[in-house]
């Protein structure tokens, strides 16, 4: 008998928790940068098309799979997948749905701890007397574990541990009493903070408070459509990738949350509501903060340069300085709100990452919720410490790439094939529509069966063999040289080896050699974790056999 007696408190709580799972730091830091780099306003066209033909179908697939598995008492993907098809290998494919969460949580909790730390520094006024370089250096010192960022020794480790303890404690309170309660507080606060900052982003006036541009310059930069870029496969690939990561599909968390929903209760409308809530936060709020404020104070050229290094740089190195242009008090309030909204976006996602592992231990080994939560905290601590200690040696990025990017695409592709082709669209369609409070358009039967899997295959292949510079035209005309960002080149460490071959400074060579070592070591660690979870799934399977459950 499973010890898992979890339940959701209310429908609204479930939707907010699901939306919170999807809303993450990427909504505010990744989306605007992707839009700027991929066609400006024109990016929204492939983005929304991919949401309609890949995002929404994947949401319905994952909600349905979760609720279906929940009927049989399964709350994690290994046995949810196995309940849909009896072939043994599905439960090992389902390992992705636990492994991804543990590996992503390991670096994501560290990222989340930065936001907690920056909230603290905003309140105590650490940034108030700093110029832009000093704030940028503060970030570098912080991730390098230099002790001069504050009076707290080893501050990044302290905040990482605080963040983990907080996550673990909330998880130990259960779904209704912990996760759902945080979502009910965190999501409205996130939207409130986001609305305030978006208002500020929309109302910057050149010449006031040191601003060099009106908001309209930043909004033009973000939204001016470059329609010629719509023909580039790279733009479509970027849009599909953004939809993928923003919805948190391919992770196993949606299945886990949905496994606590009964068959007669709706999932179709719930999925739509949570999915569109995520889009609102990403497009409406996320598009109005980072880029307009940065361009208002730094200008187009400087921001064009900064977005090359992604949204993290802008979010942590630049915005704290810009907020103080509004004065000390408003600067501190805006900093607290910005990092507060990032924190709520982060914690509602990291909590979701703990639930599949806990569900697995409770279902298969009768662990109590408390023990399962603390075991998650301990594993994430052990796996996360390398990302803290060796951040500058690429461990963080390595976890993000393999667990937070590649694994999602692979798992989503396999689960879509299982749902649409193995489980079968007839049964799948019945599952989606069972208890539905909306009429699901029948075109989605076709989309889920053909369009979504083909898109996912395209995303995977496009990432596997990305041509140099994203030049698909040259690649398709016969000159297919792989880009260093392609999965194949990444696996071979080509980019790092090229840098090593070109380096002449002994210190740089040592740094690159160490990076190569840590990159390979972190991959081995991730593979070992996957193998351990697969072993636990095997033991659970044998236990089920002995108990006559199979």
């Amino acid at each position: 008998m499973s010890s898992n007696k979890e339940s959701w408190g209310s429908r609204m709580g479930l939707i907010l928790a699901m939306a919170g799972n999807a809303v993450g730091l990427g909504n505010f830091l990744r989306f605007p940068v992707q839009a700027v780099q991929n066609g400006g306003g024109a990016f929204i066209i492939p983005y929304l098309v991919c949401f309609l033909v890949m995002g929404i179908p994947l949401l319905w697939i994952e909600w349905s799979m979760g609720r279906f598995g929940g009927k049989y008492g399964h709350h994690s993907t290994p046995f949810i997948l196995n309940s849909m098809d009896k072939r043994r290998y599905w439960k090992y494919i389902g390992v992705f749905g636990i492994w991804t969460n543990i590996a992503v949580a390991a670096y994501y909790c560290y990222l989340e701890s930065w936001t907690l730390s920056y909230m603290y520094h905003s309140v105590v006024g650490t940034f108030s007397d700093m110029d832009q370089n000093a704030i940028s250096n503060f970030f570098n010192d912080y991730v390098s574990l230099n002790n001069n960022t504050s009076a707290i020794p080893y501050e990044p480790i302290v905040f990482f541990v605080i963040c983990l303890l907080l996550n673990t404690w909330i998880l130990s309170r259960g779904l209704a009493g912990g996760v759902e309660r945080v979502a009910k507080i965190g999501m409205p606060l996130l939207i409130l903070f986001g609305a305030f900052l978006a208002y500020k982003g929309f109302t910057i006036v050149a010449g006031e408070n040191g601003a060099i541009n009106d908001s309209s310059v930043g909004l033009n930069f973000l939204w001016t459509p470059k329609f010629d870029q719509l023909w580039s496969p790279s733009v479509w690939l970027a849009a599909a990738g953004q939809i993928f990561f923003t919805l948190s599909v391919g992770m196993g968390t949606i299945q886990c949350y949905a496994s606590y929903v009964r068959s007669k209760d709706d999932i179709a409308l719930n999925a739509m509501s949570a999915g569109w809530m995520n889009e609102f936060v990403e497009v409406v709020l996320g598009g109005a903060i980072l880029i307009p404020i940065s361009i208002g104070y730094l200008g187009v050229d400087r921001v064009t340069e900064l977005v090359q290094s992604g949204g993290l740089g802008l979010g942590f190195r630049t915005l704290p300085y810009l907020f103080y242009q509004w004065g000390d008090v408003l600067g501190a309030v805006a900093g607290f709100m910005w990092f507060g909204l990032l924190f709520f976006a982060g914690i509602t996602s990291s909590l979701a990452m703990g639930t599949p592992w806990m569900g697995f231990l409770q279902d298969e080994f009768n662990w109590r919720r408390n023990s399962a939560a603390w075991s998650f905290g301990l594993i994430v601590f052990i796996l996360g410490m390398p990302t803290v200690l060796f951040f500058n040696y690429g461990v963080f990025d390595e976890y993000d790439y393999w667990a937070g990017t590649v694994s999602l695409v692979i798992f989503a592709l396999l689960e879509t094939i299982l749902f649409a082709w193995v489980f079968g669209m007839d049964k799948g369609w019945r599952e989606i529509n069972s208890g539905a409070d909306i009429k699901v358009p029948s075109i989605y039967r076709f989309i889920i069966k053909y369009v979504t899997p083909l898109l996912l295959i395209w995303v995977f292949v496009g990432s596997l063999v990305t041509p140099k510079g994203g030049d698909w035209g040259a690649a398709l005309s016969g000159n297919w040289e792989l880009d260093n960002s392609s999965i194949i080149r990444k696996l071979m460490n080509t980019g790092l080896k090229d840098q090593l071959a070109a380096a002449t400074d002994p210190a740089q060579i040592t740094q690159l050699e160490d990076t190569l070592f840590f990159v390979n070591a972190s991959r081995i660690l991730l593979v070992v974790v996957f193998a351990c979870i697969a072993m636990l799934v095997y033991i659970a399977y044998k236990k089920r056999m002995r108990e006559g459950k199979i």
């Binding site: 408190g9 429908r11 929304l48 909004l219 001016t224």
Partner: protein, 52 residues
């Protein structure tokens, strides 16, 4: 703002906000299903007890 950026931005913001509100309101307006359902908070609601 230039016209094309303004049109794209307003269309997108209005569309996304309207659909978010629409689906959210739909959730709020749908009558809950009779017990036993998936949610704990309404378990004791006398109007929602299963028919005997």
């Amino acid at each position: 703002m230039n016209t094309s950026a303004l049109v794209i931005m307003l269309t997108t913001l209005i569309l996304v906000t309207a659909l978010t509100i629409y689906f959210f309101m739909l959730v709020l307006r749908k009558p809950p299903k009779p017990e036993p359902d998936s949610y704990l908070e309404n378990d004791d609601d006398p109007d929602r007890q299963p028919l005997l």
